[in-house]
């Protein structure tokens, strides 16, 4: 009984977001989602429709909220790391990286050269994997159904690479504060190289599948126009912003993890539409391949994690010989390490845009507050006005083009 009343007040509360025509029944209110394959997860859109035309669109998020930020406060810095994998489930390595960079900045930890290069390789492999999922799913939204299977087949090879280095396909927690979990196996560079040789030809095929498909072109060109200033004002970042001609890439603007040593282009398109965002991501595939190839060349033997025993465990072999190593080992895994009282913000370029981490320490081994600035959360705001005037089918194309991950939105 009480629940019915609550639901009524919710509709009443949202009244100001609809046009007055909704009250008279002239336009129709329709739920798109939360359980709908083309919303890429559990996104609910409250649509006001005039025929098939969208009059207003209210995004409703939070269905995948898991309290990750709150949970992290109750764990030590290291134990909280495993939660970051689960945020944006297509950018696990990138989430690890962002969080670890924040810890390293807060505690002033030096990261060895080899670890930095490994991190870049992992982040770029992850970008390719994420873009492959995006390519497949956004194309199937527009009924280009065969491409999905191909993309997932190729992504599987990246998952195999991650399994090779981290023992896990997705939730690797491979990147750790101070470096990476362990060194890559000897066959890793060769395995990556063979994947990089395999991918470009496939990408050309996928591009031909879509670029020569008149239906795909008709459904993407001049749909979902966001100009550069609007995109910036509404907090868009990443490929969606670069599809509107704004040259902003965190890897360029604020290089981290040694990205300044890599040569790559930031693809820009000026179409401002769904097709432009598609073009940007297709070109980013090639840039990522370029970066990984350079990374493999830069990969020199050396330590893979910091030798500061406060922030990284001692090698297993030392435990039998050194008393200090045993103490460090014990303290590291039980107490964790304390971080100073202060706040830092770091940002990385996730496949979806700027992924930031605001980390506040309180002098103890637990974070006072971890806040993630997630690209999907900020980008999704544009949907409150971007869909207006388009058809419902176009709205689906727009959602696909801004590439949201609901785990990233809701955390």
């Amino acid at each position: 009984m009480s629940q019915v009343r609550e639901l009524e007040t919710t509709v009443e509360e949202l009244k100001h977001l609809f046009s007055p025509r909704a009250a008279t029944g002239e336009t129709m209110l329709l739920n798109l989602g939360p359980q709908h394959p083309s919303t890429h997860g559990v996104l609910r859109l409250l649509l006001e429709l005039d025929g098939e035309e969208v009059v207003s669109c209210i995004p409703d998020v939070g269905f995948l909220h898991t309290g990750i930020e709150k949970n992290m406060e109750a764990k030590t810095f290291l134990k909280a790391l495993v939660m970051t994998d689960r945020m944006d489930y297509l950018n696990n390595m990138g989430n690890n990286l962002t969080y670890c960079l924040a810890i390293e900045k807060l505690c002033a930890i030096e990261v060895p050269e080899r670890a930095q290069v490994l991190r870049v390789i992992c982040a770029e492999l992850q970008r390719i994997a994420s873009h492959l999922v995006w390519l497949g799913t956004s194309a199937i939204d527009l009924n280009a159904s065969s491409i999905l299977i191909y993309c997932f087949r190729d992504r599987e090879r990246i998952m195999d690479l991650f399994e090779l280095i981290g023992g896990q396909r997705m939730m690797t927690s491979y990147i750790r504060p101070g470096g990476v979990w362990r060194d890559v196996p000897a066959e890793f560079p060769e395995a990556v190289e063979s994947f990089l040789d395999y991918l470009p030809k496939k990408l050309d095929d996928y591009e031909r599948l879509l670029d020569k498909n008149p239906i795909y072109l008709a459904r993407t060109i001049d749909i979902g126009i966001v100009d550069g200033d609007e995109a910036l004002a509404w907090g868009m970042t990443g490929p969606a912003l670069r599809g509107s001609g704004v040259n902003f890439d965190v890897r360029r603007a604020m290089p981290y993890s040694g990205y300044e040593n890599f040569e790559f282009d930031v693809p820009l398109e000026t179409g401002c539409d769904v097709y432009a965002r598609y073009r940007v991501r297709m070109r980013e595939f090639r840039e990522s391949i370029k970066i990984i190839r350079q990374g493999l060349r830069l990969l020199k033997p050396g330590p893979f994690i910091t030798s500061d025993r406060k922030f990284a465990p001692p090698p297993r072999a030392e435990l039998g010989r050194s008393m200090e190593a045993v103490i460090h080992h014990f303290k590291y895994w039980t107490d964790g390490f304390p971080a100073p009282d202060g706040e830092v913000y770091v940002a990385t370029e996730s496949p979806r845009g700027e992924l930031g981490c605001l980390l506040a320490g309180d002098g103890g081994p637990n974070p006072r507050r971890v806040h993630f600035r997630t690209p999907s959360f900020n980008t999704l705001q544009v949907l409150s006005w971007l869909g207006k005037g388009y058809l419902v089918a176009d709205l689906v194309a727009i959602i696909g083009s801004i590439d949201i991950v609901l785990g990233d939105v809701d955390r």
Binding site: L232, A233, W234, Y345, L358, R373, N378, Q381
Partner: protein, 173 residues
Amino acid sequence: MSHLERTVSALQVRFPHGVLAAVEFRGDLTLQIDSASLLAVCQYLRDEPTLAYNVLVDIGAVDYSPQEPRFALFYIVCALVHNTRLRLKVLLPGTEPVAPSITGIWPSANWPEREAFDMMGIGFDGHPDLRRILMPADWEGHPHRKDYPLGYEEVQFTFNKREIDARKKYATS
């Protein structure tokens, strides 16, 4: 003189009472701003052509309980052409924390402010649509506050709501 230094001195000249402190930590500059002058500072940062802070990157809320003032809002703003970032910090009291909404200056503040309202219970004056965003509309309490219990909590459904409600510790307000 870097763009950041220029910004800080311009703000200190223009708002002698609005800029309370400038703190540098790990190479990042944080300006503590009086909440009463936040709107004017943000407007100036965006509209002054020599400063040109055209992007609001993020708003993050931190609970410093039991310290007083208890809450802090961090605004990260960015001048894209100068590639400069500045962090503004606004301290808010534990009882009835309210900050002015900056959605009129940067529309992208809309959802981050709703998130801070939902999770920390911070009000935003002048926000066009201040509703809960991540938690359900009928949720009580603000989960990111330090006095909100974490873990080992029964999940509330309609059939056990009253029973759980009776022994649940809610954050104040």
